[in-house]
């Protein structure tokens, strides 16, 4: 379920936004997100921007693994 597409906001107008994913562009609904600006990254599902994205998968995975490592040390 729920194929999500990570895309960059190109422009915002009214309740919709033009998004760009690797050069593919589409107009999607931006009605469920407030204060969207060009340059933001959003998660798009079925033509709706459902969330702003904060940071990359690599960053978050790195943080999770560091945390896991520290907790592990605490337990030893």
């Amino acid at each position: 379920m729920c194929v999500g597409l990570s895309a960059r906001v190109v422009s915002v107008k009214g309740g919709s936004a033009v998004i760009d994913a690797s050069g593919a562009r589409r107009t999607v609904s931006a009605e469920l997100l407030s204060e969207l600006e060009p340059g933001d990254y959003v998660m798009v599902h079925a033509g709706i921007a459902i969330a702003k994205i904060n940071g990359s998968a690599a960053e978050e995975s790195g943080q999770i693994m560091e945390q896991l490592d520290e907790n592990g040390k605490g337990n030893n």
């Binding site: 379920m1 999500g4 609904s29 009605e31 599902h45 079925a46 459902i50 995975s61």
Partner: protein, 344 residues
């Protein structure tokens, strides 16, 4: 520091059964070959996470009836087109002259209705909380623009009661990141209090690996049930309140039939009375069909993780991706299709 992959590959703790409840998780896990690096103690179970898998045959029958008897234009997400009903799939109906059109979003279906006011357009609203906002927005747009030839055939479902029903089937859930992008992590914390563990996971290979590593470590820390959000960059704890508010203003909970699992109380969504004009069942007086799944089909047990796809007598013989019997074979994300295509 050990990498997530090293933690998983070298896991030597107690046996773990982890249930992914999202078809896209299933698909990505197979696509990047994560199952191939799992040690024997870790088992991944593909639970009911694909809206196509859990859509009952009777729903397809209703859509086919709308298309063939009422001559409506059926708009749908692409993967529903091959799902078998009791008599035929939408692809089968199309070969008999039915108008079936795949769309990227239900908002496009509304635009289609707007451009052809003489024609009745029905959108097949399936999916979980992630997808419900798109159907709700479509109806909202149609209402505010006075578009009267658009309606939904709803079969929307919600996850919390399914989690509660399936909690005992696994040691931990891999919670679907995009469902929780909408509904937040409240339900996960409630499940944790009741002894059910899980981790919210993203969809890229490294996100799936780090989420699985967290489960592997936490499950052996002896600290009891755990919960962690490993997809904070997209799914924040409060979810998307605007989306939840939208759903609650247009739809209301109902009991829902899940193919293979039966009826789970309060696990569905239907349009509320204010939007009844947009309910295709009311508009076209479509009776609730109770379709018959194939007698040998074991989709239900496969969804619960009780059986593996190859345990089903139809798997790979009668039932293949080109000629699917059960819905688990229909969707690319279905457990059986994924097993068939990617091998074990």
């Amino acid at each position: 520091m050990r990498t997530a992959k090293e933690i998983i590959e070298n896991y030597s703790g107690r046996p773990l059964r982890i249930m992914e409840v999202c078809g896209t998780h299933t698909h990505e896990i197979f696509r990047c070959g994560i199952r191939k690096i799992l040690p024997p103690q870790i088992e991944l179970i593909s639970g009911p996470g694909c809206p196509v898998c859990v859509t009952p045959p009777g729903y397809i029958d209703s859509a086919v009836e709308l298309a063939l008897k009422h001559n409506v234009l059926i708009t749908t997400f692409g993967d529903l087109i091959r799902v078998p009903g009791s008599e035929m799939s939408l692809a089968g109906a199309r070969s008999k002259g039915a108008q079936i059109k795949p769309v990227y979003t239900p908002l496009d279906a509304v635009e289609l209705a707007k451009s052809e006011p003489e024609r009745e357009v029905v959108f097949l609203a399936v999916g979980f909380e992630t997808t419900a906002p798109s159907a709700c927005l479509a109806v909202k747009h149609a209402k505010s623009e006075g578009i009267k030839n658009f309606s939904l055939l709803t079969s929307n479902k919600t996850m919390p009661n399914a989690y509660r029903a399936l909690g005992s089937c696994a040691d931990a859930f891999l919670f679907p990141g995009h469902v929780h992008t909408i509904i937040g992590s409240g339900i996960c914390r409630e499940l944790q209090k009741n002894g059910v563990s899980g981790v919210i996971a993203g969809f890229q290979a490294e996100e799936l690996l780090s989420a699985l590593a967290v489960i592997a470590v936490k499950a052996n820390s002896g600290a009891g049930a755990f919960f962690e959000n490993c997809y904070r960059r997209v799914a924040c704890d409060e979810g998307n309140p605007a989306a939840v508010k939208l759903i609650n203003s247009i739809m209301e909970p109902c009991d829902a039939e899940w193919r293979g699992l039966g009826i789970i109380p309060g696990s569905g969504l239907k349009l509320n009375s204010e939007y009844a004009d947009f309910d295709a069942r009311i508009k076209f007086n479509v009776p609730e069909c109770s379709g018959r799944p194939h007698a040998g089909c074991r989709c239900g047990e496969i969804l619960k993780g009780v059986l593996k796809p190859e345990d089903c007598p139809l798997f790979g013989k009668v039932c293949t991706p080109l000629n699917p019997v059960g819905a688990c074979m229909v969707s690319h994300e279905g457990s059986c299709s994924a097993y068939y295509q990617y091998g074990r």
